[in-house]
Amino acid sequence: MQGSGIPIWFFIGLVLTIYGAMILGYGTYEWISGNYPATVQMTYLHTPVWWGGLLAALGAFYVIKFRPGREK
């Protein structure tokens, strides 16, 4: 993000990491407790766990790769 200090990709990574962690955390709780929302379909796929994990991993990659101060 030329001329603006912190790269936009870093922001995006940060947001994805936070969202991923929140959704993964809830999905894990849901899986352990077996407390699934009644109106949602296909809960047996544990979507929040793998989708949250995927978002968090992708976000972490961007945070590390585009962290401020990192030499190009």
Binding site: Q2, S4, I18, P37, P48
Partner: protein, 624 residues
């Protein structure tokens, strides 16, 4: 988009009695974090948007990737997401034309043929290019048209978004309008185009993160693509001469009556694929402004190509959910849920007793649908669970079906992000056109750079305020929405004619440009009013009694373009052209493009444009 504006706004006004979903704390936290981040970006970038170049053109230092994603994101509004998912439910895979033939060739043409002139002329806007090429009068007509269209469209989108939040979540309409518009005004007003662009890139990622799960899970449940096709054929048997018309892009477009959309391939190719698509993607300042912010000519040419890869993929999160909705959505009793038009939902609006307020009107509207008789009776009795949903609720219904706490918040964030990126695109483009193409030449010619930046910031606030006014105007007079939406299609075809002749024909004269644009707009608007006053005129405009409303936009655009072309040609031939020396940097054949540094093949825009074309052709063949 959209290039054609298929998202029928009145559909979104079909208010249901109860919201589709309720958000939990986790969902609200996801949405709150999104708002916090977009505002923080605006505040963070405020100090880097002090000069006119920084505020209005983001310092012309965006990379090809950032400009390219912003280019696509500014177009990917929430109306786009939900409107086209609803269109896919109604018309099947034909809706994909608006993403492929209705976008990809135009994006490549912008990149390879037009971007050099926009970029080399160093113009700050599309009206600015018209000023350089044709003179001040043409610029003024275009600037006022752009400014009016953008601000009214922004208001209509804002209202539509608020209605969606009301339908899906039960949120108060005024609350949704104020929160989202104040957020956009703050982050664009503070950080200018740079802030709008950076947020659009973030919003693009969130739209995919929030919406991608729906087609993935839907396909798993439907048994993959083959399972989806089999279920669709079973559900739609007897609807057309070929029951699988919903699954073919081109095969049944040889006749208006043979496909669900009621269009002909000539309209798709020439009206949509050429006039509307090229008009939108190559001359609409809302999207062109993003590419003008690129850091050099190569980045400016690569940006639309990068955007075109993502544009080709968007049907996966928009069209596919609509198709899946056709086979997977269920009523409370497990039967297949059939969505209906907004007129049916409105006619059956419930009274306090739960029954339709006007039973006769509701019964008449229901008879026109394919809903089973037993379900119609349930609706008329106001039976619990017998509710009606409009086509444009297909995507929210699919989200509610698969997304639990957290994920639903992310999905709703995707819709909000789509709305905000579209609105930010409109107000940032409005601010530039107002400041540089209306205020500076017509009101205050000799201001300082900082004065114009201040005017730009204030025009964003004013633009948002007018948009809010337009939103409330629409709320109290629904009929004007059609006219507001039509502004885009009325204006864009004449503009394309004038710009194409200006860019690729040295002989086009200033008077021809001015008259072509002005009379083209009047002609196009007259066609629209003609069909509005006399719906039977559609058969004349689209050249077939079987034509349906979707055909009107594409044929009207084609006629308006032809009319403008004839005017520009005729007037140019009888008036004196500008000397070729004055056309340097503006016209093909009179411009020496700056030499670009050699780049390896994998950075060459022509090579990547070729890759895009191969994929584009392959997709059209596969889904023929």
């Amino acid at each position: 988009m959209s290039a054609g504006g298929a998202a029928s706004l009145p559909n979104l006004l079909a208010l249901s009695a109860a919201p589709l979903a309720r958000l939990g704390l986790l969902d609200i936290a996801v949405i709150a974090i999104y708002f916090a981040v977009v505002l923080w970006i605006g505040f963070y970038l405020k100090g880097r948007s002090n000069t006119g170049e920084e505020f209005f053109l983001a310092g012309r230092e965006m990379t090809a990737w950032i400009a390219g994603l912003s280019f696509v994101s500014a177009n990917l509004g929430s109306l786009e997401l939900m409107g086209w998912a609803g269109s896919a439910y109604q018309y099947g895979i034909l809706a994909t034309h608006w993403y492929w033939v209705g976008a990809i060739p135009a994006m490549l043409f912008l990149s390879l043929m037009m971007m050099p002139f926009y970029y080399v002329s160093k113009t700050h806007s599309v009206p600015g290019y018209l000023h350089l090429r044709y003179g001040g009068h043409t610029r003024t007509v275009a600037a006022f048209s752009f400014a009016t269209e953008m601000i009214l469209m922004s208001g209509v989108n804002m209202f539509a978004m608020a209605v969606v939040m009301k339908v899906v979540l039960g949120w108060n309409i005024t609350f949704s309008i104020l929160v989202s518009s104040v957020a956009v005004a703050l982050y664009v007003g503070l950080g200018g185009l740079r802030s709008a662009i950076f947020n659009e890139v973030l919003q693009f990622v969130l739209i995919w993160g929030g919406a991608l799960l729906v087609p993935v899970l839907g396909l798993v449940q439907a048994g993959g693509w083959e399972g989806l096709k089999a279920k669709m054929l079973a559900n739609l048997a007897g609807t057309f001469p070929h029951p699988d018309s919903y699954l073919h892009l081109w095969r049944d477009t040889g006749s208006f009556a043979a496909n669900p959309m009621g269009v002909h391939w000539t309209g798709i190719v020439f009206g949509l694929g050429f006039v509307i698509s090229f008009g939108y993607w190559t001359t609409d300042f809302l999207v062109v402004q993003r590419v003008l912010a690129a850091r050099n000519l190569r980045a400016a040419r690569m940006a639309p190509i990068i955007g075109s890869f993502f544009k080709m993929a968007v049907p996966f999160i928009v069209i596919l959910p609509g198709l899946l909705g056709l086979v997977l959505l269920q009523n409370a009793d497990g039967s297949r849920r059939q969505l209906v038009g907004e007129d049916v939902v409105a006619a059956c609006a419930a009274s306090a007793t739960g029954r339709p307020a006007n039973a006769a009107a509701c019964a008449a509207a229901l008879r026109k649908t394919a809903l089973p008789e037993a379900y119609q009776q349930k609706v008329l009795r106001g039976a619990p669970g017998a509710d009606l949903h409009s086509y444009n609720q297909a995507l929210p219904l699919m989200m509610v079906r698969y997304l639990g706490p957290g994920l639903l918040g992310l999905g709703i964030t995707a819709l909000i992000a789509g709305f905000m990126s579209g609105m930010a695109g409109n107000v940032s483009a409005f601010s530039t056109v107002w400041t540089y193409d209306i205020y500076r030449p017509l009101i205050h010619k000799r201001g300082t750079d900082s004065h114009y930046v201040l005017v730009g910031r204030l025009s964003i606030l004013a633009g948002v305020a007018v948009s809010i006014g337009a939103a409330y105007l629409v709320m109290h007079a629904h009929g004007i929405m059609d006219y507001v939406q039509a502004l885009f299609s009325i204006f864009i075809a004449p503009l394309l004619g004038v710009i194409l002749f200006g860019m690729f024909w040295k002989r086009a004269t200033p008077l021809a440009g001015f008259l072509g644009l002005l009379t083209g707009i009047v002609f196009s608007g007259s066609l629209f009013v003609w069909v509005k006053l006399n719906p039977a005129a559609l058969a004349r405009v689209a050249l077939s009694p079987d034509a349906r409303p979707m055909a009107e936009n594409v044929f009207r655009a084609a006629w308006a373009f032809l009319f403008t072309a004839v005017v520009v040609l005729a007037v140019s031939l009888v008036t004196k052209p500008r000397p070729v020396a004055e056309l340097e940097g503006l016209v093909y054949g009179a411009t020496t493009l700056p030499a670009e540094e050699p780049a390896p093949f994998y950075k060459n825009e022509w090579m990547w444009a070729g890759v895009v074309m191969v994929i584009f052709v392959a997709l059209n063949v596969i889904f023929w």
